[in-house]
Symmetry: C2
Subunit: 265 residues, 2 copies
């Protein structure tokens, strides 16, 4: 294999957590001919094996790391933080580590503290309302922006994670530092999530409106689609990005007040 080719290949990939995001990543990578080892609960691993979302089922985190050049943490945010700490204890030099968490500063900070030199934060801009391996699909990443936050990682590590994103069909974008990333997603993703819940809750609790929800137009449906997202996962995301979410919420409320002048509050 030439140096150029190795720079364009992700190598052997271990995916830890085979839910919607990890499971879909596995499906896309296996289709692209990448060697994928998976780790999750035994019943999920068995389903992922049968579905062709992984090639090999690992028995433990250590077992997964032994078989991989690149590890993808694909669990919920707090579990990813715990995995990072466990992984730091026996990761061999040169192992590249990335994640799929939608908040980037806390994981990046933890990786630096643990001395994981080749950690590259990742955030694919894709998803679905339902979580879990049952909801995963091979085209979830196709054509979507895949944000990379390299921090102090080596060019070699960044090239591997960029190759991972491309192999999954996504468009890697190296554009932001972790703080900027978390500020942007507070505006583009985290506040919209809170707003979708609040719209659905307000209409669902009003004694008159809730009897007429079947009359909703396509606008209400598309603005409350996110309200079906898993609440526990989102609570973690919002807590980890509390500072930036507060900033974006204040900006949103300022603009809402301005736009509401027509109704003379």
């Amino acid at each position: 294999v030439s140096r150029a080719a190795s720079r364009r290949a992700p190598g052997r990939v271990a995916i830890v957590g085979l839910g919607l995001m990890g499971g879909s990543l596995g499906r896309a990578l296996v289709r692209a001919g990448v060697a994928v080892v998976g780790l999750d609960r035994p019943e999920v691993l068995a389903r992922a094996r049968r579905a062709g979302a992984i090639g090999v089922a690992a028995r433990s985190l250590a077992d997964a790391l032994r078989q991989a050049d690149l590890v993808v943490l694909a669990a919920p945010p707090r579990a990813n933080l715990r995995l990072l700490r466990r992984l730091a204890r026996f990761a061999r030099p040169g192992l590249v580590v990335t994640d799929l968490t939608s908040v980037k500063a806390p994981l990046g900070r933890e990786a630096r503290r643990l001395g994981l030199a080749d950690f590259v934060g990742g955030h694919p801009m894709t998803g679905a309302e339902r979580g879990g391996f049952a909801a995963s699909r091979a085209d979830l990443y196709a054509g979507r922006p895949y944000l990379l936050v390299p921090g102090a990682a080596s060019r070699r590590a960044l090239a591997r994670v960029r190759a991972l994103a491309r192999a999954a069909g996504a468009r890697p974008v190296v554009a932001l530092d972790a703080r900027e990333h978390d500020r942007v997603v507070a505006f583009l993703s985290h506040v919209p999530q809170l707003v979708a819940w609040a719209l659905a809750d307000a209409a669902g609790k009003d004694v008159v409106a809730r009897g007429a929800l079947r009359l909703q137009g396509p606008a209400f449906a598309s603005m409350t689609r996110l309200a079906r997202s898993p609440e526990g996962l989102w609570r973690e995301i919002l807590e980890l990005n509390a500072r930036e979410v507060r900033r974006a919420l204040r900006a949103f409320e300022r603009e809402l007040l301005r736009r509401s002048r027509a109704v003379a509050r």
Copy 2:
């Protein structure tokens, strides 16, 4: 024509205002074989004639009324109120009047005050971001709920407007009085409009987020799609429904605060 058939036909229809809503209604009705006379500015009338969205171009409101069994007011809300007053001066007995305005109480009140016995309020739950005849299309009403607020109108009048909705391909729903209607749409349509603007404005004004708008996922795109709606038209709608919009805004803000506890404000 049997009595049953006449009850199922809208008769000759005059559409006053050939924008997105009126123009699309005309296209659907002409396709369904209904006789349609249109009224708008001369250049819009000429385009609507050429596009087959109307059969006959009226020279004036009086001219349109002479040729119709059913008049559809399809102008913006305040213009519809003015048209209702003009129309009341020379409407012959038995003429059925309806409208497409998304706020129902003010027009219904005005029709009662003017002694228009056969006014049936209408609100098709459909639309698009762009307005004007250029954006009109024959399938805008297809399969959509079409709310009818009959007030004190006769069964004959209601049957005609119901037949109009069906001829346009929509699903007529007689379910609400005007006040209930306006309360429901405040939750399902008017507050979502304000929220879409506020989300787009907040992200567009933040010095970091606005540089990264191209990174938005499908959720942000679908939650801010409404922000491209015509502002002048929406200001009228919000002002005419101010009381109910305030109620729904308060409920939304209460739920947003509750959902934001995760970020410990």
